[in-house]
Symmetry: D2
Subunit: 134 residues, 4 copies
């Protein structure tokens, strides 16, 4: 299962070299992943509106690799998918393209935690199912 | 003529009080106005891609007034229109709503400048026509 | 009483025109005002760490006026002072200079609220004293 | 040689969970590295003010690993050092601490390019010397 999130680069996100400033790539990924989680798991974390959340997660590691930059006005597709399921963690890849042309990709290690804490917890089966399309 | 720009509030734009951090309202307005200018006046400023720009502008003043905050996940409509034409300046209003409910509005004084400089210049007639829908 | 807050412009805050992107001026002001409030009123709002806050406020209006831009590497002085005390509101001015040369100023209308709510409340006398240096 | 860059977390950089939003860690690193480069290599890239730059670089990869979050008001030390010199690339580590307590670290692969292009070029010896303290 791949979740596609599309956004348009804003003028204020581009720097003096005319390309998107590097920190915004991480913000784009977070936006894509959060939108995916909020859509697939509305009963998850409290800030998605759930009164009794059944799932929460923390980013442990993020690795971004650039091939070419995004520029002002680019319409960016961010394709997100889970590439590894562990017991209490899982890896997600976000691939960023413009008109099908790869510009960067990012790999995230996410840790499942007991909601409201930072204590690792097994990834619930319903989360695996929701994010795997199964 | 009113130009509507729509965006969705990102998680990372919300602060510890659970509302959009105030500086992002200005970023939203800039995004809305820039998108409008780029669409209506593609021959304008160089960073829109024009090799021989016929128009450029600078923000002289911005006044933001809040009624209620935007929150994570809100789909925001920003309605932009020119509310005053001067000789070398013009005023633009941006009104921000969610499901038709006003949350804030902002008034901008824009100064027309000779492209590539910060020297005030008369607002070209084709600019007035393009932004007035005439 | 004037509170001076000093910061250095970051590369990633500058846009394709080589100047600080307009939304960051509002972020700079917020940083200056928040630092002032946190220092002068540590018993105030909860996110400053107070378990029983005696004061909170909301920004109702912000008006920014630019004279000249900030650029990468500029060391910016932001001078903050209360310019009007009302019953439930007060006005703050932030003046931004580089080496004593004014670049912009901003006027804020702040509304005092009952902590944890958005209900207007009289500005406490200890707040007036703390921010007036009296 | 280690370059220390110190900054204070801004309120607007913290998210609804009360911690610094993840993209800002990358912005902090960029600020630390850019300040280091601008100080150690003022004759480098054009946006540092050099009319005839002798060096420029691009970020190829960034890997961030979090141990614990930064919070509002934290005074953050970012210690930067080159951990590998290649022919046309070099690796930099940024370690982020608060009061000596590690919160995160990041590893960057930087590619030396011919100034004004994205063509890889050998890292000049004067750059190695300037960043190694040799």
């Amino acid at each position: 299962m791949t979740h596609r999130h599309t956004l348009r680069v804003r003028y204020g996100e581009c720097d003096m070299q005319g390309v998107v400033f590097n920190a915004h790539y991480l913000a784009y990924c977070d936006d894509a992943l959060t939108a995916w989680m909020a859509a697939a798991l509305p009963e998850a974390v409290p800030y998605f509106g759930s009164p009794s959340p059944t799932f929460d997660y923390m980013v442990k590691k993020a690795e971004l690799t650039w091939t070419a930059p995004f520029r002002f006005g680019d319409v960016v597709d961010l394709d997100c998918s889970v590439v590894r399921w562990g017991t209490t963690s899982f890896d997600v890849r976000v691939r960023g393209t413009v008109d099908g042309d790869e510009r960067f990709f990012a790999d995230f290690v996410q840790v499942s935690v007991t909601p409201g804490t930072n204590i690792p917890a097994a990834v619930p089966d319903h989360v695996k199912a929701a994010l795997s399309g199964g």
